[in-house]
């Protein structure tokens, strides 16, 4: 079942550092998430009882555009870096659906079927809720909330959006964004440490995948084409 209360129920996520062998390219993800040089991802107390990794909880991570370093004095920054990156993707999704709805209202996309308008409105709300949840996690851990999308991806989306002239084009663009988000959340499962963070990422991944199914249907494609979800569109 689904709920709107995940954000409020979520306790602060475990901020343990992801293992070095996890494959997380933090430099790439931080770049995508819009986190710039000098931004410190500082760990604070965590609410999860999951400390099975044995990682030293007094270790914190300072992430910068040129890489990440570990410094003493906190918890760890792996989960928080992923939370910030996820929030950036959600900002981009909210903005894109918002722009599509504005364009539809202005009549720039031609005739907009009721189901498509309803989809865009609902998907935007879903992504806003996801953004609020991730920002809640960041705020609970003393971090700044994320309000900007990843710059590179935003540029790509804006360029694609400029070419869109109808609802089909919007659906294709939305499909790309949802695919990136869903695959990133799946990819994050191998890197996240905290139980609450794993649950939150998974609970949003489900909804993004459902968005994809409906978009596939609207575009006339088979709605569930994959036996297994892959991580091929992940930005991690």
């Amino acid at each position: 079942m689904t709920t709107e209360t995940a954000a409020t129920n979520a306790s602060p996520i475990n901020t343990l550092e992801a293992p070095a062998s996890s494959g997380l390219s933090r430099r790439k993800f931080l770049a995508v998430s819009g986190m710039t040089a000098g931004v410190a991802v500082v760990a604070v107390a965590c609410g999860s009882d999951d400390n099975a990794s044995g990682t030293d909880p007094t270790t914190a991570t300072t992430a910068a555009a040129g890489g990440s370093t570990t410094t003493a004095g906190g918890g760890g920054g792996g989960d928080l870096a992923i939370a910030a990156g996820a929030a950036g993707l959600e900002v981009l999704a909210v903005n894109t659906y918002g722009a599509a709805l504005d364009a539809a209202t202005a009549g720039d996309l031609g005739e907009v079927p009721p189901a498509v308008a309803e989809y865009a409105t609902t998907a935007k709300k879903n992504h806003q809720a996801a953004l609020d949840a991730w920002n809640g996690v960041l705020a609970d851990n003393g971090e700044s909330e994320v309000s900007d999308p990843p710059a590179d991806l935003e540029t790509t989306v804006n360029e694609a959006f400029a070419e869109v002239t109808d609802i089909g084009g919007v659906a294709e663009l939305a499909l790309m964004l949802e695919g990136i988000a869903a695959d990133t959340y799946l990819d994050a499962q191998s890197m996240l440490e905290g139980s609450d963070a794993k649950q939150l990422a998974g609970s949003i991944q489900v909804i993004d995948r459902q968005h994809i199914a409906i978009l596939n249907f609207v575009l006339g494609e088979y709605p569930v084409p994959d036996v297994f979800q892959s991580t091929e569109n992940s930005v991690l």
């Binding site: 709107e4 996801a130 609207v218």
Partner: protein, 285 residues
């Protein structure tokens, strides 16, 4: 009914190609898992892992997982039935059992039940001879569940466990009880949606129960597909309830779809694991 048969077959064919690719990816790490399994054989179970699962079980129970909130919503928590279910789901994982293997076996049991249920549905005249898109969905989804079950069983075997070839013991009687009453597509869709939601919620819960990252990714990967099955079934159900079965077509007449078709598949912005099956529910006895 407006169905482009050739187009639908092409789409499913493309889908099957993608499925093969995805299966290759999913099994790419099999040798690594087999090494873990080999190293575990003859070893005592990992007590830390058992403690972790029991801790997570308590957390999920507190948050209404494993069907507790569903029982509460139906006013059954204080009943004898509710007490019996709670007794099952609250029972901690035993230290003598490999928890990851039990979790994988339970997942396989759900997949086995899903395959059997879709298989049975495809024998019903109103499915077999009914809407081509619904029939194609049932066939493709059945095959996808078979792949999921095989993958969970392979992972369990690689970890040194037995393959689960039986259907889930909790839900099988419920499905069997429902079968005689399946006299319309709507009832079949409703039953299938319930099974898809149980699977989705189970794999979501498993994300925090399973400590092995490879196994966790497998659960996340399958969860992402079951969630889509659920979305499609919700949308189909809404169209059937609106007496608009003719709109269940590929490609659809998008302009004719009711507004609700754009939102009914995801009623809330977050999925909660409150219909999840606990780890040992479908474990090999």
């Amino acid at each position: 009914m407006s169905v482009d048969d050739r187009g639908l077959r092409e789409l499913i064919s493309e889908s099957q190609d993608l499925q093969s690719d995805a299966l290759r990816d999913a099994r790419a790490n099999a040798s690594a898992v087999q090494e873990i399994g080999a190293s575990r054989r003859g070893q005592k179970p990992d007590l830390d892992k058992t403690r972790h699962v029991n801790s997570e079980r308590r957390r999920l129970l507190r948050n209404g997982g494993f069907g507790v909130s569903a029982l509460a919503a139906r006013g059954l928590l204080g009943s004898a039935f509710g007490a019996a279910v709670l007794n099952i789901v609250a029972r901690p994982a035993g230290a003598q059992e490999d928890v990851d293997v039990m979790i994988l076996q339970t997942a396989a049991s759900l997949e086995n039940l899903a395959v059997a249920t879709y298989e049975a549905a495809l024998t019903l005249p109103f499915i077999k001879n009914g809407n081509e898109v619904v029939k194609a969905f049932a066939m493709t989804t059945m095959e996808q569940h078979a792949e999921h079950g095989a993958s969970f069983n392979s992972q369990a075997a690689d970890l040194g466990g037995e393959r689960q070839t039986e259907a889930n013991p909790k839900y099988t009687p419920i499905v069997e009880e429902a079968k005689p009453g399946l006299d319309s597509p709507l009832k079949v869709v409703d039953l299938a949606a319930t099974l898809e939601e149980v699977a989705t919620d189970t794999y979501l819960a498993n994300l925090s129960l399973v400590q092995d990252a490879e196994t966790r990714t497998l659960f996340g990967s399958v969860m992402g597909v079951e969630a889509q099955h659920l979305a499609v079934l919700r949308a189909v159900k809404a169209l059937l309830e609106a007496d608009a079965a003719d709109l269940i077509a590929l490609p659809p007449d998008v302009a004719a779809l009711p507004a609700a078709a754009g939102s009914v598949a995801f009623p809330e912005p977050f999925e909660e694991p409150d219909m999840a099956s606990p780890p040992e529910e479908g474990a090999v006895q």
